[in-house]
Symmetry: C2
Subunit: 194 residues, 2 copies
């Protein structure tokens, strides 16, 4: 998605440890018109695929999931994050490991919002190690839902997330794929190598 890549080049900042900071338009301050265009791009990429519901995870996935849901005209469900296990019996839960924070957390979705047989599109802002998306796939599987695809705003190609997801046979569409952040320079993967 060219407008997204240009925005990343313009406003993204590289921090130590291969971290791309995009909090001025993606995950602290959000540009709503860009988010809306991102939602439409997901809709175009998954055109013709049956999607009954969008599934994401709080916090920074919500804006893009909502905009995708607007274009697909389907409900958006976000998994809640918390520490520890919620003892409630009416939620699907999955444990997620955060490599960034070196901790585990639990994500949960009320059973009533995922019905057996539904086709889900999972949306998230970042894909690096893929742990959060794997947690959502685990929850989808508990609910007997089908994951029709995964839509990612920014993928880090040099981390294993997308490889893991594709090895599970899951279609992943990433709107900007970062090949390298070395030497303080943002390099996108070329479309041809996709």
């Amino acid at each position: 998605m060219e407008s997204l890549k240009q925005r990343i080049l313009k406003d993204g900042r590289i921090l130590d440890g291969n971290i791309l900071k995009v909090d001025s338009f993606i995950n602290h301050q959000i540009d709503p018109r860009l988010a809306f265009d991102i939602g439409r791009e997901f809709y175009n990429r998954f055109a013709g695929v049956r999607i009954d519901k969008i599934l994401t995870i709080e916090t920074s996935g919500i804006a893009f999931a909502l905009c995708a849901g607007y274009h697909f005209n389907v409900p958006v469900v976000f998994a809640k994050k918390h520490s520890g296990i919620n003892m409630s019996s009416d939620v699907y839960q999955s444990k997620v490991h955060s490599y960034t924070k070196q901790t585990d957390y639990t994500i949960s979705v009320s059973e009533q919002f995922l019905s057996s047989g539904e086709n889900l599109l999972i949306i998230d802002d970042f894909l690096a190690n893929g742990q959060a998306v794997l947690g959502l796939i685990n929850i989808a599987s508990q609910a007997k839902c089908k994951v029709s695809g995964v839509g990612i705003v920014i993928e880090k190609d040099f981390q294993p997330g997308s490889k893991i997801l594709r090895s599970l046979g899951i279609r992943v569409e990433s709107l900007a794929v970062i090949e390298s952040l070395k030497n303080n320079k943002i390099i996108f993967r070329e479309a041809l190598k996709k």
Copy 2:
């Protein structure tokens, strides 16, 4: 906002302790077309008011702030919630008391996303005791921003939040105002009494 009220009557549930549960379309599962209409309604209510930025708080304010931001075509900033004090020197912070959970938490916004003199519209999904919005107003004041108004999706008239905000001279626009949840019945405040 009539379509919102009808949806609350159709899908809202009343739990013990004056709690209105709207997690099937507002704060766990979200209806994106309704959220978009809510954003437009905020835009209409604050037509003619100068708004440079939308300020909200994670998690469930984000969807509605984003949709308002889309119509105003201004950036959306969400305050992050965490326990304890963040020692970072480049954030504005405020302590918020949660009556629901009987705990305090801290909200923070990076200094770089609020500039002196900006006119803010604060958006949140619920207004009950008003503590979260007061925390956002405190942050706006630290940043020398002006709060041009507060937009609320669902206000509980029988709790003191809106009275406190209006006593500070702040314009509050609530799209659905609940007068009572007694006897397991949702009663909206009539427009005339506003």
